[in-house]
């Protein structure tokens, strides 16, 4: 039993396994095990394993699954659905790309087990269009699994049936938001839905639907194969399992690292070849573009959902962006906010109008054309438009988190930008 169960079988060049090769490496044993249990027993094991969703919000996977009604008891007719979310586009995130490309049969195994526990009989894997190798790998693996009776009707004689389909997307970050993703699958513009009802009550085509991230799904088979106690013991904190961390930005060897949940930024940066630039840390975002900045003092913080939240940030996708002393956090914020402004679906006013305003001010700060009152606008927007509940989804709130922490932690640096542009670029700081 490996310390890197999720990625241990992956090949360095990311060539995916054929079904025969995957089965030779204990592939689909977890599915065999799961289908001998009842759906409720499978759900219990995942519950005991403390698996938190890896897509960003960190909601306990089993809790989400528990809301799924038996299709016979849901009003109307039709199946329950499972959606595997592979619309990875968060700045700094490149983990799902790897899992889809290199380990497609692991995704299928996780999808079968999750669908079984949630009474779903149709599963979609939505993958962003740019991930062509991942789309091809998943399609090939699904065809192999269907031919071998591992997907389709009466899987392994269990009586459980599952149809699995790949649906490529076509751009727009907001598609990764779970209710926007459902709208997209229905053939609409990806505008998030108001909740309630939650997808488990009324999701795709009005049916009970679970949406889980690719990484969450990829972890599920290991819980069934080795047990919830083992899975929890993989972690250094209360949150179960390993995490596929990513480190990018100012490090010498950016890349993916599967490590125990609760691994520190210090260790991850070391394992990424140390800091580049001048070798001295300025700050880092632990969970992608929408996570608040942390600094030197938080280098030994165990990185998981709970600890990051307590520290005033967010674990998000668990994909770090690292800045050394020669990198400007305001420049990073400017790129992030331009991205979020561009990707807003445009439905809610604070997001549609606020984000371009913020992005323009950050650009002006960088160029040296900003005015003192501009900082007040940034503070006001972060405070007024950031909190949850001001818009349908969390795009605006997420975008404001690094801005708010940036203003709080680097106030002097913001002020210094008013005097002729980025002081780091001008070499005066």
């Amino acid at each position: 039993m490996s310390e890197t169960p999720m990625t241990g079988r992956a090949r360095p060049d990311r060539t995916p396994h054929s079904l025969a090769e995957w089965r030779a490496e204990a592939g689909y044993e977890a599915v065999e095990r799961a289908l001998k249990l009842t759906p409720a027993q499978v759900l219990d094991r995942v519950d005991q394993a403390n698996l938190n969703g890896r897509g960003g919000a960190g909601f306990p996977a089993a809790q989400k699954w528990k809301f799924m009604a038996d299709p016979a008891e849901a009003p109307g007719t039709g199946p329950n659905y499972l959606i595997v979310n592979g619309d990875e586009m968060e700045p700094g995130a490149f983990k799902d790309r790897f899992l889809l490309e290199a380990l497609p049969h692991q995704v299928i195994e996780g999808a079968i087990i999750t669908a079984y526990a949630t009474h779903a009989t149709v599963a979609y894997v939505l993958i962003r269009d740019e991930y062509r190798p991942g789309i091809a790998a998943m399609k090939r693996a699904i065809a192999e699994a269907e031919a071998a009776g591992l997907l389709g009707r009466d899987i392994l004689g269990s009586g459980f049936s599952l149809t699995m389909k790949v649906k490529p997307s076509a751009g727009r970050y907001i598609v990764g938001e779970e209710t926007a993703l459902i709208e997209s699958l229905e053939g609409k513009r990806a505008v998030p839905r108001k909740r309630p009802p939650f997808p488990a009550q009324s999701g795709l085509f009005g049916r009970p639907t679970t949406v889980n991230n690719v990484e969450t799904i990829s972890l599920v088979p290991h819980i069934l194969a080795n047990g919830p106690q083992w899975f929890r013991a993989l972690s250094r904190t209360e949150e179960g399992g390993t995490k596929l961390y990513a480190v990018s930005g100012r490090v010498n060897k950016p890349g993916l690292i599967e490590a125990p949940m609760g691994t520190t930024a210090r260790e991850l940066i070391e394992r990424s070849g140390g800091l580049s630039g001048n070798g001295k840390l300025r700050c880092f975002q632990p969970g992608g573009g929408a996570s608040g900045f942390l600094e030197e003092a938080e280098l030994d913080l165990p990185l998981d959902f709970g600890h990051c939240k307590t520290a005033g940030s967010m674990f998000g996708t668990g994909t770090m962006i690292v800045l050394d002393q020669t990198a400007c956090p305001i420049g990073v914020l400017a790129r992030h906010q331009r991205f979020y402004a561009r990707e807003s679906c445009g439905w809610c006013t604070p997001c549609r109008d606020g984000l371009p305003w913020v992005a323009r001010i950050l650009d002006a700060l960088e160029e040296g054309t900003a005015e003192p009152g501009d900082l007040e606008i940034l503070r006001m927007t972060a405070a007024e438009a950031g909190p949850r509940g001001r818009s349908f989804c969390d795009l605006m709130g997420g975008a404001m988190a690094p801005l708010a922490t940036g203003l709080a932690r680097f106030g002097d640096l913001f002020e210094a930008h008013l005097d002729g542009g980025c002081p780091i670029r001008r070499g005066v700081l």
Binding site: M89, A93, F94, E130, K167, A170, S184, P254, L256, H336
Partner: protein, 157 residues
């Protein structure tokens, strides 16, 4: 020119697979674009007719999803990442070099119809920063340096 039969077949298959005409709309646009590089007004109307939806409804979708092109693009589309991790690793210099070499900005196509340059984040290539996705198969390339561009652009399909 009417919709080629293989494309029409693929679109009908998408309707069967994804639960009817509306859930197959985006996939239909994608199929057209994979075959022809972009989605023309004529094709949009033909696909709408095949699906049994209005052209307006289909265009409503096409104009929302940023990777569906409603204008002609060059033979080689370059998606250049303008995200933070790429910026931290020198993406601005790469961007300036690409623009200087091709003589175009973001969202533009070269006069000879060979290249279209589009900014895009995040490409999921932060471990190859600065990164780009090049050509019809969206091949991920990086880490890029300004001096790598000549061979890269010449080798592009």
């Amino acid at each position: 020119m009417s919709l080629p039969e293989p494309l029409a077949e693929d679109i009908r298959a998408a309707m069967d697979s994804f639960g009817g005409a509306r859930p197959a709309m985006l996939e239909s646009l994608r199929l057209i674009q994979h075959a022809e590089g972009w989605v023309s007004d004529a094709r949009l109307a033909e696909v709408a007719e095949l699906l049994g939806v209005t052209p307006a409804e289909l265009d409503n979708l096409a104009t929302f999803y940023s990777m569906i092109f409603r204008r002609p693009v060059g033979e080689t589309v370059i998606l250049l990442c303008d995200g933070a991790s790429c910026w931290l690793n020198g993406a601005d210099a790469v961007r300036d070099a690409v623009m200087a070499r091709l003589g175009i900005g973001f969202g533009e196509t070269t006069g000879d119809g060979k290249y279209t340059l589009i900014n895009c984040a995040c490409l999921g290539g932060c471990d190859h920063a600065p990164a780009a996705a090049v050509g019809r198969d969206r091949r991920l390339v990086g880490p890029l340096a300004p001096e790598d561009l000549a061979p890269l652009l010449e080798a592009a399909p």
